[in-house]
Amino acid sequence: MLGRKRISNYFYIVPIIALVVLFIYYPIAYNIEASLYSWDGISAEREFLGAQNYVDMMSDKVFLKALANTAIFTIVTVGVGLVAGMLLAVATLGNTPIQRLCKTLMFLPVVLAPIIVANIFTWMYEMNTGLVNEALRAIGLGDLARAWLGDSKTALGAIMVAQIWQSVGWYLIMFNAALTTIPTDVLEAARVDGANKIQTFGRVIVPMVKNTTFSLIILGIIGSFKYFELVWATTKGGPNHATELFSTYIFTNAFDFMKQGYASAISVFVIVLALIITAVQLRINLKER
């Protein structure tokens, strides 16, 4: 019977355990070990440093910049995604042709490769022929025209706009699916009780999609730790590290500076941070339930 514990039951999970051990846990262990050395990734010799890489990290201005940028990037893109996604999900809840069209157009970027988005936006932001600057000139705001990705004041913002363009449709679809699970009589009851639209939204809709919101926050944060393409394909973290993220800084250290021990130390830091953030969120989520 199913209830019996048998050895053969393990056969079902051997493949999945093998996959994650080989390609996730072995690499994590490798990172932890490698982070204690100075190594260029090629030569036979490497030098033991102990915790020196981690000490260096804390006084590395570029690393701290990458930490700050990743935090800003995550908070802004996930925050905007949640708010815009929820509002748009409510606005497109019916299935009129216009609502469908709006949903489809907003969801289109979600299925595109981020590397394609990166290339499109590189040229949208370009100084002379870029659409953004052309539009500004057309409405008489030509003074604002600039190389958006080449200016350290605007580069991170410009990249966040591109990421928001790509991801809002995802939040929209997720909230849309969650909203369809709210029974219509709940909304009807709110209306009968005299709640206006804003009250219904704030007191009925938002609390009822709380679980979805929690999942989206976790998935959004994990997603932004992975974010790489747009930055790398446009600015490579520049100008002057204004767009440096964890991902680009790990890549640059490992394969351009040939400091693989240091890159591993940063990787370990990022993994620990990701685990802590998820654990804290799950705790909050469980408490709220």
């Binding site: 209830g3 079902y12 009129t96 609502q99 490769a113 992975k226 490992a254 940063i266």
Partner: protein, 259 residues
């Protein structure tokens, strides 16, 4: 809602939708500058392009197959079978969900190098699958949890082995979850760039996402052709999405609603 309100809401939605379409229009428009369709002809004549397309198909198809087989088995076991260490093993897989791929590139690059798999597109299948299985398992297990245990128990009473009962009774009921997992595994594998770019150096072995980068180098001063290349790479997935809109949206939302 009154009529004026409805109309203004529709107008706002139209404006947002069109605004969202502008970057794609920009891509199409740029791709026809100077040469028109000749730009597309030039790109389509790139000798490696069919091969790159095939590489993407093989890598993506392989990843989907591995993810489905592995997570169907594991989802069933974690949901319906008993064995020692079940919770901790489940947790071990799920923690993989929180590990960002860029934090694994140093060890993975050494691993692939040691195994002599640089320039072998097949090497990506295992890695992509490993990165996808945690989330897929979560969805699979939730799905199996919803299927009544009596279904399979009755099969076993009738003399089936556990595996046979799983295959004959539960598997045929799994179409919705299989399609959901297929959709987001497809998107993740088809669109992946970082690892493909790191491991596939020779143009002939590259997958489609790596192509815009080499085209940027090749057509640096020839923007319209670069955009034609982007459009050609983007079109299959746009068409696929428009044809299978419902499956895409249901697939991507399958995991989150339950939370």
């Amino acid at each position: 809602m009154n009529k004026a309100g409805k109309i203004s809401k529709n107008i706002i939605l139209m404006v947002i939708g069109l605004l969202w379409f502008v970057p794609l229009l920009f891509m199409f428009e740029k791709s026809f500058e100077d040469g028109g369709f000749a730009n597309y002809a030039t790109i389509l004549q790139q000798e490696n392009l069919p091969r790159n397309f095939l590489n993407s198909v093989v890598v993506t198809g392989g990843t989907i197959a591995v993810v489905l087989v592995v997570t169907l088995l594991a989802g069933f076991a974690f949901s319906k079978l008993k064995f020692r260490g079940k919770n901790i093993l489940y947790l071990i897989v799920l923690v993989g969900l929180m590990i960002p791929a860029p934090a694994l590139i140093v060890p993975l690059s050494q691993l692939i190098k040691t195994m002599g798999l640089i320039n072998n597109p097949l090497s990506l299948i295992g890695i992509y699958a490993a990165l996808q299985v945690p989330f897929s398992l979560l969805i699979m297990k939730n799905y199996f949890d919803e299927l009544p245990t009596e279904l399979i128990e009755s099969g076993i009473v009738d003399g089936c082995s556990v595996f046979k009962a799983f295959r004959k009774i539960l598997l045929p009921l799994c179409a919705p979850v299989v399609s959901a997992v297929t959709v987001f595994t497809f998107l993740a594998a088809w669109n992946e760039f970082l690892l493909a770019f790191m491991f596939l150096k020779k143009p002939i072995y590259q997958t489609l996402t790596v192509i815009p980068y080499s085209f940027t180098m090749l057509f640096m001063s020839d923007l319209p052709r670069m955009f034609a290349a982007l459009t050609i790479i983007a079109l299959p997935i746009i068409i696929l999405y428009i044809c299978l809109q419902k499956q895409f949206e249901q697939g991507l939302t399958a995991g989150s609603v339950k939370g």
